[in-house]
């Protein structure tokens, strides 16, 4: 609606109010009229104007005063630019007398008025202010809404005005200027800039934005050089020591425009209350969206086009590049399943505001969007526990894993894998503790898995973490692939004195008895575990055979190597620590571990063959001090 048409509409409303109230309103009963309606009260700035010192027959005069004031107000910046942001409500309660008290006169004059307005409030003759604030507030509260500050027109021809919660002004020839000055205080929270009656200010820095003790006007430096803004001495009732932004301003002299500093504060306070996003579609703030549908989101706003409103969209907090129109189409196929937020913002880039740290000039609207896919499962691990906390090398431990499918679709088959690691997070290179397979898990069902494992022999006395990882390779189509794991902690302790051989390779389990295959060019890492052996006096040697493990070879009365020797054994012993049998003879490290590498050359020519490794410890005092278990290796697969 244009300003002209709004005023025409307001004139009609006033006329209707006059005609209606004259016939129906009982004496002294307040009449509430919305004279300017620019939108819902929760989204606009609601001005409430009270009539004080008007007799019943003077209600048309009050209405005329209101019209005159609004016409003047919306011709003055920044109110003109933002005229559509205001609703205006009037409350008329007739007084017995016209006018206001004049205790300053001799003899004093007292009037019987509804809010008991009086000149000479606080000993300042021109300060006309109401005394019966309780009734005035109760009447103002009858308006559909308010912003806490109330305008009062006092039907008295004597020049005057004053402001606090109420912005009061007389209704004489300077009424509009006085009232706009007063609402500068009450609505705009700016200070007086006139410099009387005091001489030199010696107090602290005033809180108001438009007066300062800084001779350079540092407080409004962002405006320096524009619109006549600098720093002029004389403000806030002091001739010296306080400075104002512009040589003259409505907060200093009636008839002036508001300076940029005052106008900026009024504009920000107004926009801090007004919601400039008027309508949003969909109207509901929560939107459910099914894959593969599209959903259009749109808004309308009231920011004047001349203020160059900037529209932006954010999806899950991230700016959507290029999305600057009032409508945004969301493609469900581009989003993960689950909850997302879509926010639109409209920033008023008016020239009235240069600094807006509180973002009062930006209005936002947010939708919570839930993307769902009827074909997707949603696996997660609600719980993962171990029957033991304190463990030792080779300990049998049982994990209990609860797997839930919260999605609308069944899941399966899928695996639940277990990884042991001294650090977080896990990787596929960590010690593998096997897997479970779940053939099928229906929608909205939970399954509980018991997973017994034997911990590795090379476990050290330290803290370890075990991860239960569901569907590591994403075989199941899920709405959220990021919540498929849970971990628990185990505390490793010193364990039994064992002599073992196990593999140190990823995704193998059990480490000391897995069927391990290696093809041409591949490698595996047999590892000797002898935690109680003296690493300074013990060597290990890993032997190899293709002839099985039983009955093995007695090496001493107490040591039998579980390998049946053959030509492969001879070849192995003849090529210890060669490129193929790396570190098959070596020294144990400080933890009693011997790390070897078996690397099958790319052109070995070996066909499928089942072989075994086993290790023997060689001591300085006892040649064969211990033998390990055998581990299997299938070549050429």
């Amino acid at each position: 609606m244009s300003r002209r048409s709004r005023i025409a509409a307001w004139c009609g409303a006033v006329a209707a109010a006059v005609l209606g109230s004259a016939a129906a309103a009982p004496a002294q009963a307040p009449t509430v009229t919305t004279v300017l309606n620019n939108g819902p009260t929760q989204a606009r700035y609601d001005i409430v104007i009270l009539a004080e010192g008007y007799q019943a027959f003077e209600q048309p005069l009050f209405n005329q005063n209101v019209q005159t004031f609004l016409t003047a107000l919306f011709q003055k910046q920044p109110y003109q630019t933002f005229a559509s942001y205001y609703n205006v409500h009037t409350v008329f309660r007739a007084s017995v007398d016209s006018g206001a008290d004049h205790p300053e006169l001799s003899p004093p004059v007292y009037k019987d008025t509804v809010y008991n307005a009086s000149y000479n409030t606080g000993g300042v003759v021109r300060c006309v202010y109401i005394q019966n604030t309780s009734l005035a507030l109760a009447d103002a509260a009858l308006a559909p809404a308010n912003e806490g500050r109330v305008l009062v027109f006092v039907n008295d021809p004597t020049y005057g005005g004053c402001a606090a919660t109420f912005a009061c002004s007389y209704n004489g020839s300077s009424m509009t200027e006085v009232q706009i000055h007063e609402i500068g205080h009450s609505l705009g929270q700016v200070a007086d800039e006139y410099d009387y009656p005091n001489n030199t200010y010696t107090g602290s820095e005033p809180s108001a934005v438009n007066i300062t003790t800084s001779p350079t006007g540092q407080k409004w430096s962002i405006w320096h050089g524009s619109n006549g803004i600098s720093a002029f001495q004389g403000a806030g009732y002091y001739l010296y020591g306080l400075y104002r932004p512009r040589n003259n301003c409505l907060m200093r002299t009636l008839g002036q425009t508001l300076c940029s500093v005052c106008a900026e504060n009024i504009t920000k306070l107004l926009n801090g209350i007004v919601q400039t996003i008027d309508q949003s579609t969909p109207a509901a703030s929560s939107v459910a969206l099914m894959v593969p549908n599209l959903q259009a989101f749109s808004i309308s706003h009231i920011v004047p086009a001349a203020n160059n409103p900037a529209i932006g969209w954010k999806l899950d907090g991230a700016i959507v590049p290029g999305a600057t129109s009032p409508t945004f189409v969301l493609d469900s196929t581009t989003l993960s399943q689950g909850a997302h937020s879509l926010q639109v913002s409209v920033k008023d880039q008016t020239a009235f505001v240069r600094s807006d740290p509180a973002n009062t000039m930006t209005d936002t609207h947010t939708w919570q969007v839930t993307i769902s896919d009827p074909t997707a499962a949603q696996l997660r691990v609600p719980s993962f526990t171990s029957n033991l906390l304190w463990v030792t090398r080779g300990s049998p431990v049982t994990f209990t894993t609860e797997v839930a499918n919260d999605g609308p679709a069944a899941a399966g088959p899928f695996t639940v894998e277990y990884f042991l690691t001294p650090t977080t997070p896990w990787t596929a290179q960590d010690i593998y503790l096997g897997s479970d397979t779940v053939a099928n898990l229906a929608a909205m069902q939970t399954t509980t898995l018991q997973h017994p494992v034997q911990l590795p022999w090379r476990l050290l006395p330290q803290v370890y973490y075990v991860y239960a990882v569901v569907d590591r390779n994403d075989a199941v189509h899920e709405s959220n692939e990021t919540d498929n794991q849970r971990l628990l902690a185990l505390i490793g302790q010193a364990g039994p004195c064992v002599t073992k051989l196990e593999y140190d390779d990823p995704l193998l389990y059990p480490l000391d008895s897995a069927t391990v295959s290696v093809g041409a060019g591949g490698s595996v890492h047999p590892t000797v575990v002898a935690p109680c052996a003296d690493p300074t006096a013990t060597l290990y040697l890993i032997a190899w055979t293709a002839s099985g493990t039983s009955p093995g070879v007695p090496l001493s009365p107490t040591v039998t190597l579980p390998l049946n020797p053959d030509s492969l054994t001879q070849i192995g012993l003849g090529n210890l620590n060669s490129p193929i049998l790396g570190q098959f003879l070596g020294i144990l490290d400080a933890q009693g571990l011997g790390h070897a590498t078996f690397a099958l050359p790319p052109t070995s020519g070996l066909g499928p063959m089942q072989t075994h490794f086993a290790a023997v410890l060689l001591g300085a005092t006892e040649l064969f001090s211990a033998a390990t278990n055998p581990v299997e290796l299938v070549l050429g697969m």
């Binding site: 009260t41 559909p144 997973h451 040697l541 020797p565 089942q610």
Partner: protein, 185 residues
């Protein structure tokens, strides 16, 4: 490798070579265990997730008349409005608040109060109205406060955070506010 180690290795390898050369080729050993362990358990119905309590919904708003002074505030009038509460102005904060609670003590809303027009220092309490220029400062507080209207509101408590401590300035029951609003529009 130390000399003693080297001697031991030489002896050990020689011994092993000799031992293995006279030994017979044994039978093929058994194949190691499978790579997976355990199995799926029986599906069970999931435990119903706890339903979060529905957040309280405001039913329009109240326009309250609040009166008193820096040490005591009360509600002297209330008007119920069907329009939604407009909320707190962007960027506005205050040490003075009105807290609306339900019967269980849960906070339904906390509304900062704009007392900047009033004389709220301890020294100003009870002093007559002061006017500087055309600004009125009164230690008697009389103001409008808009708050969301909750059917379950049990108390309205005014507080002032002063030097890090909250001072309670007055509490009005929800019933009293509803009664005050009975004659509202």
């Amino acid at each position: 490798m130390q000399l003693s180690h080297a001697v031991a290795v030489g002896a050990a390898v020689a011994a092993l070579v000799w031992t293995f050369s006279v030994g017979s080729a044994g039978s093929t050993g058994s194949v190691g265990g499978a790579g997976s362990a355990g199995g799926p358990g029986s599906p069970v119905a999931p435990a119903a997730p706890p339903t979060p309590p529905e957040p309280p919904r405001a039913n329009g708003h109240y326009v309250l008349v609040v009166e008193g002074d820096r040490d005591r505030l009360t509600i002297t009038s209330a008007n119920a409005k069907t329009d939604p509460w407009a909320g707190v102005p962007v960027g506005f904060a205050s040490d003075w608040t009105l807290c609306v609670r339900d019967g269980g003590g849960a906070v339904l809303a906390e509304v900062p109060l704009d007392l900047t027009p009033f004389a709220t220092s301890r020294a100003e309490k009870g002093q007559p109205v002061q006017v500087q220029g055309c600004i009125v400062r009164d230690s008697r507080i009389a103001m409008l406060v808009s708050v969301p209207r909750f059917d379950t509101a049990a108390s309205y408590t005014f507080s002032h955070r002063d030097a890090g401590a909250d001072r309670t300035l007055g509490t009005v029951t929800g019933d009293a506010v509803r009664e005050l609003a009975g004659g509202g529009r």
